[in-house]
Point group: C2
Chain length 209, copies 2
C-alpha cells in the first residue's frame, strides 16, 4: 500500500490520528509526575520521551499545544521539576486510566489508585509502583512553531531502580524490570530480546553479547 | 538502588552512556535514508524519532551535535528530504552495521548490503527490505542550546507498507510487521502485545479491544 501526503490530509480525523501515531515505531511509555506550588499532584502518560544526551544526562519530551490548561506543562514551569516513571504490567490499567480528562481538583493518583512516593531530591511525586523512577529538573522549553507543541528538556538528578537491573557496563535491563512499550495511542506491548550487538566497525563482523 | 545527579556525573564515560541511554525506556528504531546533491546515499540508525502531530503529520528526531561532519544532518539540510524505515529482524544485523564510521565516499547501502529503493515523491532513498517506509520533507531545525544536539522535524509525504498491517481504525499493527524496538544503544527486542485499551474516561472502567 502506498499512501501519499494528500491521502493523509484527506483521512478521517481519528483514522489519521491512529495511523500517524504508529508511524514512529514502538515508543517508550512513562508516567510523568508533577505537583503545583500548592501541593496538588498530577500524573500523565507520556509516549514522547527521548534521550538528548548522557553528560549532562538530559531527556526531552513533547507536550501538546497549551491551548487549553495542560497541568503537566504548567506544573513543570511553576515548580521546575518532574518525574518519569516506567510503566510495568501490574499497574498498566491504572496508568492508562490517568489519561482520562480529570479536572484540576482531581489528582490522577487518587482517581487511578496509584500511590505517590517522595524523596528529598525533588518536590514532584514519583509513582511508587514503578520499578524505574527518574527525577528531573527542568532545563529548557522549546516551542515548536509549526504546530504549537512544546518540547521540554530536563536533567536527570535521581534514579531509583532494583540493583539487579543494572548490568556491569551500566546498561539497565528494562526487559528484566518488565518496562512496557506502546504503539500508537493505546496498544501496550512487552518485549523479548532479539540480540545485543557490539559496537560496529567498518569491515568487521558484528558480535552478539 | 538510588542514584544521585552527582553519582551520574562521577560515572565512567561508557558506563554513564549505557545507563542514560536506557532511561527513556524502549525506543523506536529506524534507518534514516538521505542523499547528497551529487547523489551519494547515506543510511543511519536513529532511535530518537518522536511523533509531533497528526495534522499535519509531523515527526521529529534528535541528531548529535554537528561538531564533526554528520552526513544525515548535512544531507537533509542540503536536499530537504529524508526517509525513515522501520527495522525488522531479517536485516537487523545489516541495519546495526550502518552505524559504523564509514567515510563520506562509502555508502552505508553498499557496505551493509541493504538495497536502496526510490519513488517519485522524494530524492532520498528508502530501504527496500523495510516493511514500513516513510518519506518526509524537512520542515524545521531546532538547535538545542544546552548540549548542541539538533532536533529535526519533517512532514510525512509518503508511507509504504503491507495492506494487511493497516487496521480498520487506521492503527498500523507494527507487531504483525515485525518492527523492532531498541533499548540503550545496542539491544534490540521484538514485542508481544499485552493489551489495547479504549479511550479512558473519568469514572469508567477501561475496556480492552
Amino acid at each position: 500500500m502506498q499512501i501519499s501526503g494528500a491521502d493523509i490530509r484527506n483521512m478521517e480525523r481519528e483514522y489519521r490520528r491512529n495511523m500517524v501515531n504508529t508511524l514512529s515505531g514502538f515508543k517508550s511509555v512513562n508516567l510523568c509526575g508533577t505537583v503545583t506550588k500548592e501541593g496538588s499532584t498530577n500524573l500523565s502518560v507520556i509516549s514522547s520521551v527521548v534521550n538528548i544526551g548522557a553528560n549532562p544526562p538530559l531527556m526531552g519530551m513533547i507536550l501538546r499545544p497549551p491551548l487549553v490548561p495542560r497541568h503537566t506543562l504548567e506544573n513543570i514551569l511553576e515548580t521546575g521539576y518532574f518525574s518519569l516513571n516506567h510503566i510495568q504490567e501490574p499497574f498498566l490499567k491504572q496508568a492508562h486510566q490517568t489519561a482520562a480528562r480529570y479536572d484540576s481538583r482531581q489528582s490522577e493518583f487518587e482517581e487511578s489508585g496509584l500511590e505517590a512516593f517522595h524523596t528529598d531530591a525533588l518536590p514532584a511525586p514519583y509513582v511508587k509502583e514503578s520499578l524505574l523512577k527518574i527525577g528531573l529538573v527542568f532545563k529548557e522549553r522549546i516551542d515548536i512553531k509549526i504546530n504549537g507543541t512544546v518540547f521540554i528538556i530536563g536533567e536527570v538528578i535521581e534514579i531509583m531502580l532494583p540493583d539487579e537491573a543494572v548490568k556491569e557496563d551500566g546498561f539497565i535491563d528494562l526487559e528484566a524490570i518488565g518496562s512496557l512499550t506502546v504503539s500508537g495511542l493505546d496498544s501496550y506491548h512487552e518485549t523479548k530480546k532479539v540480540a545485543r550487538f557490539t559496537y560496529p566497525k567498518p569491515g568487521q563482523e558484528l558480535k552478539e553479547f
